[in-house]
């Protein structure tokens, strides 16, 4: 029996699961927006603007979900500053939850700046103050801010998996692949969100075609990493003999990866494939978290 079965469940459930999903999606969308911002064509601008919007909204939502989940939400700032020694910074480079808190803050800042810049470019900002800030984010500055946000987006998508691995819980600490898996899933859900939302901002068929093509590759990477993750669990895999295992197989692998891959290959409606990818991405977070949360250490330890 893995030694992880003797640890306690942290009750990371109904705020953390959506956070892992939203954070991954926002990070993935920001990465793709930045990639198109730097290396795309002028016709990709609607996708870029949509991506920065998704990142900004996702980052704000992530911060809210994380704060609400705390046992003492008003003490959220204790993650960033030493409460007894303010304004000294609180940072532990070896603790994913500590550097993750800083990463979320920075990602939120950069993605909001990028979104304001993109909205100013479109002439969609009404408030003078926001327009003034957005007006500063243009040209080279916009590219730098977007690029940094994009790289940080990949980090946000993946650090949640590393956070789970750096514990002593079953499944999470039994495999080093969760971070890699969440990055692949974050990027594929980010692409799916862009496929669904960017046509409303004027995205061209060619931009959507590239997103579809990239999503196919990201889904293949996700499937391969998922297989590596399952193989690495070894004897711990018996925890999947449960409703969570069924959901992983049917919801994530079949509906969330294989079915969209087939749709992309057959050039079926992109929107349906994108919706399935989003559902699969959410179920991936749900199953990996709840399968571990559900393990009762005492029942297992006692062999009951």
């Amino acid at each position: 029996m893995s030694d992880t079965f003797f640890s306690g469940a942290p009750h990371w459930t109904w705020f953390i699961i959506p956070y892992f999903f939203v954070g991954g999606l926002a990070g993935g969308a920001c990465f793709l927006a930045a990639a198109l911002d730097w290396f795309g064509r002028p016709e990709d601008r609607p996708v870029v603007r949509t991506g920065y919007d998704i990142a900004a909204v996702g980052a704000i939502l992530s911060g809210l979900l994380l704060t609400i989940d705390l046992g003492r939400p008003l003490r959220f700032w204790h993650m960033l500053f030493q409460s007894e020694n303010f304004p000294a910074l609180m940072f532990k480079g070896w603790s994913p939850i500590s550097f993750g808190a800083w990463a979320i803050l920075l990602f939120g800042l950069l993605s909001v700046l990028s979104a304001l810049g993109a909205r100013t470019e479109e002439g969609r900002l009404q408030m003078p103050a926001l327009r003034a800030v957005g007006g500063l984010v243009k040209g080279g500055v916009a590219k730098l801010v977007g690029g940094a946000g994009g790289l940080l987006g990949l980090f946000i998508a993946g650090y949640t998996g590393i956070l789970l691995s750096v514990t002593n819980r079953p499944i999470w600490a039994d495999s080093p692949w969760l971070g890699a898996l969440f990055i692949a899933s974050g990027v594929s859900t980010g692409a799916a969100a862009l496929i669904l939302l960017s046509p409303g901002r004027g995205a061209t068929e060619r931009s959507l075609g590239w997103l579809s093509s990239f999503d196919t590759k990201a889904l293949v990477v996700e499937l391969l990493v998922l297989i590596a993750f399952i193989v690495s669990l070894g004897s711990v895999n018996r925890v999947w003999v449960s409703i969570w295992g069924l959901l992983l197989l049917v919801g994530v692998v079949w509906f969330g990866i294989l079915a969209p891959l087939r749709m992309h290959a057959q050039r079926r409606p992109l929107a349906t494939a994108a919706r399935l990818v989003l559902v699969g991405g959410f179920l991936l977070r749900l199953t990996t978290i709840l399968a571990s949360e559900a393990i009762d250490r005492y029942r297992v330890a006692a062999g009951l």
Partner: protein, 268 residues
């Protein structure tokens, strides 16, 4: 500077009276579970069942019976191990978890914000949230009592000296003598967590066991959560790099196709 202090728990003399649990609850003013309404476990005489935010001591009953007249009871008063290398302290993002001058590990409730990272990090399942404070809580090894020269409430209350409090060096000497004594009597006895070169740099609350650690709900080789950090980060970086390259190659291919395609104007 005080020397490292801790507990040596000799499970062979525990009688399961739960005086330690009661003393701990009394001294630390821990609330009752479920509003004080008794809830029976239904499958054991032990109704506390586990350590958590409001049970900082738990006397575990292990009922090993092959038949009505063939078996034995093992009892162990479980508590925070006050690890020399503590996983909870390692991951705590607020600095709420500290190491004291007695080499014990204490959660400062006024600093903790209830993120619960420490719960998942502890290899022993010791920590949980106290629903009254909304913060993570566990045994403090009675830090307030130690500060004024008193011994912890649990060991003070233990009627059989199953829980012994003292300096770690002295406790280890005493524990080894007890193991030798038991082995001379033909009892299979081993120390768990007493080796300073062992897992987690040794435990400042260590145990004398007469069966495998797993039987007592203890991991055989407890480890720090950070053991996974480098490998997990490397794999994540590799995944990000692969996806980044795929995105860039895809964009380049699209550009090449456009330049080579009809109306593309050819390569320039």
């Amino acid at each position: 500077m005080p020397e490292p202090m801790g507990f040596f728990t000799d499970t062979t003399v525990c009688i399961g009276c739960k005086a330690c649990e009661v003393a701990c609850k009394e001294w630390n003013q821990l609330p009752a579970e479920n509003g004080g309404i008794g809830e029976l476990s239904g499958d054991s005489y032990d109704n506390t069942r586990k350590l958590d935010g409001i049970h900082w001591r738990h006397v575990r009953f292990i009922e090993q019976f092959k038949g009505p007249y063939d078996g034995r009871w093992l009892m162990m008063s479980d508590v925070c191990k006050h690890c020399v290398q503590a996983g909870c302290l390692e991951v705590c993002p607020t600095g709420a978890i500290i190491r004291t001058e007695f080499d014990t590990v204490v959660i400062q409730s006024d600093v903790c914000n209830g993120c619960r990272a420490c719960i998942a990090a502890c290899p022993f399942g010791v920590i949980d949230v106290n629903p009254v404070s909304g913060t993570a809580q566990k045994c403090t090894l009675c830090y307030d009592r130690l500060k004024v020269g008193l011994e912890p409430a649990c060991s003070k209350a233990c009627p059989t000296d199953s829980i012994q409090f003292g300096s770690i060096v002295e406790l280890r000497t005493r524990a080894h003598k007890r193991v030798d004594q038991l082995k001379a009597q033909g009892v299979k006895a081993e120390l768990y967590g007493a080796d300073p070169d062992g897992a987690l740099g040794g435990l400042n609350s260590f145990y004398l066991l007469v069966d495998e650690p797993e039987v007592y709900g203890l991991p055989r080789k407890p480890a720090l959560p950070s053991r996974n950090l480098a490998k997990s980060a490397s794999f994540s970086f590799a995944s990000a790099a692969v996806l980044g390259v795929l995105a860039l190659v895809g964009l380049r291919k699209r550009r090449m196709d456009e330049m080579g395609g009809p109306g593309g104007g050819g390569a320039s």
